[in-house]
Symmetry: C2
Subunit: 261 residues, 2 copies
């Protein structure tokens, strides 16, 4: 991770705690010049995380409880890459797969670049972008409204698009998974679309980093029984494990033979 990203994460943590930060304090704590902090802050302001004030910044009330995309993308990156490498084992040449928006999904998309014949369907322009120059993978992008900062397409057009298609495999991203509430998402609308896509897929595979185990976000996507496989970076605790097992969900964990060299 670049050092400017690290700084920005720390700044956001301070905002979480105190709602406010000061330029001079941050400069001292992070041992960089004030100018650098100002540049970080104006960058964070541009993506809607905070609001600049004279001498510092205050936290912006966010659209939802979801941390911004730019932050989520770098978080748990190694785990996401592990999960992605495990996920490709469920894909065979010629498949029609849906790659959800979400940060784990981008890592999966990168892995899929090495396939030759595939139909990839996605509501994420980041994923689409990755395949622009690939000559033989067919990519369908759902229409819709672009969610600021996320690069994901949402809304009626998106739903309507997916309603008309059927798929082999749906690689689902979710905000949380729990034995009680199943899979959940931050935004109602997103949850509804994911539920619909899952119902059109032969197989639904959830890509979930272990930090999301036994948590619950706002909106229900679907109960555990609606998904076929969960791929994560480590085995969940007993309760969730049991719930997955009793709902006939396969749990797939990558074997880590020195992946992190």
């Amino acid at each position: 991770m670049s050092s400017s990203m690290k700084r920005k994460q720390i700044i956001q943590q301070h905002l979480e705690n105190d709602q406010t930060v000061q330029v001079n304090e941050l400069a001292q704590e992070l041992s960089v010049s004030e100018m650098t902090i100002r540049r970080d802050l104006s960058e964070l302001e541009r993506i809607g995380v905070l609001k600049r004030t004279h001498g510092g910044a205050i936290k912006e009330v966010s659209r939802s409880y979801e941390p911004p995309f730019s932050l989520r993308r770098s978080r748990h990156l190694e785990q996401k890459q592990l999960i992605a490498r495990e996920a490709v084992r469920f894909v065979t040449e010629g498949d029609t797969v849906v790659i959800d928006s979400g940060t784990s999904s981008i890592e999966l998309a990168k892995e899929l670049l090495s396939f030759t014949h595939l139909t990839v369907i996605t509501p994420s322009i980041h994923t689409a972008m990755l395949f622009t120059d690939h000559p033989t993978i067919e990519v369908l992008v759902s229409g819709g409204m672009l969610r600021t900062g996320e690069g994901s397409l949402v809304g009626d057009f998106t739903r309507h698009f997916f309603e008309q298609l059927y798929f082999d495999t749906f690689f689902l991203s979710a905000a949380a998974i729990s034995s009680e509430s199943g899979l959940t998402e931050y935004i109602q609308e997103d949850a509804a679309i994911k539920r619909m896509i899952a119902s059109h897929a032969k197989k639904t595979i959830a890509l979930i980093t272990s930090d999301k185990f036994e948590k619950t976000a706002f909106a229900r996507i679907c109960p555990l029984q609606d998904i076929d496989v969960v791929i994560s970076d480590r085995e969940p605790a007993a309760q969730l494990s049991a719930a997955l097992h009793s709902n006939h969900v396969e749990m797939s964990i990558p074997s880590q033979q020195g992946e992190n060299l």
Copy 2:
């Protein structure tokens, strides 16, 4: 333009002339190592421009007569920027505008970033990408199949998407304009979609670099009378000028007060 781009353009010109190139000849002509030429060639192979052979490469038969996006993007860049700067004068805050795929359109999209309230509708993921982090501009992306190397969305989904919407202004890209055949495009399907969008827009503005004057591509988009404004980098010759005038098309040329400092 980066030197590797210059080299790649020269390589493509050679391919146009001779259908084939040799690694050692190119290395000598361009005064770089053979390894560099090999890297250029494998890059060009990846985007489908050519096919590697032992010692060189042969031209790939292209999908159409259209040069590849990567090449078009850098061609006539200064003119496109001039045109884009002129085009924003036709946009006011709050408008609903369609930004076509195409290389001039990307320059226009960059200019639009400075607006605060706007609804932008586009079949180009490059354009969409530009707006991902903009907090107040609403972006609608048409669904569709991703055209390799172009980043544009095409097909039935695209058409269906645009059929349902109406717009203030459509900034149209085209392959050519002529007094005889009006506006034309390389691909039939693209032409049909552009025609449809134009019919849903209050005002259609064509962005056309002057190298496209009095040329004709394969597929008719629409006659001159269907467009309201043509923006270009210089005044067309008498015949096209007259045709535009008699079809009540306004011609808009940027005034070049030392733009190229």
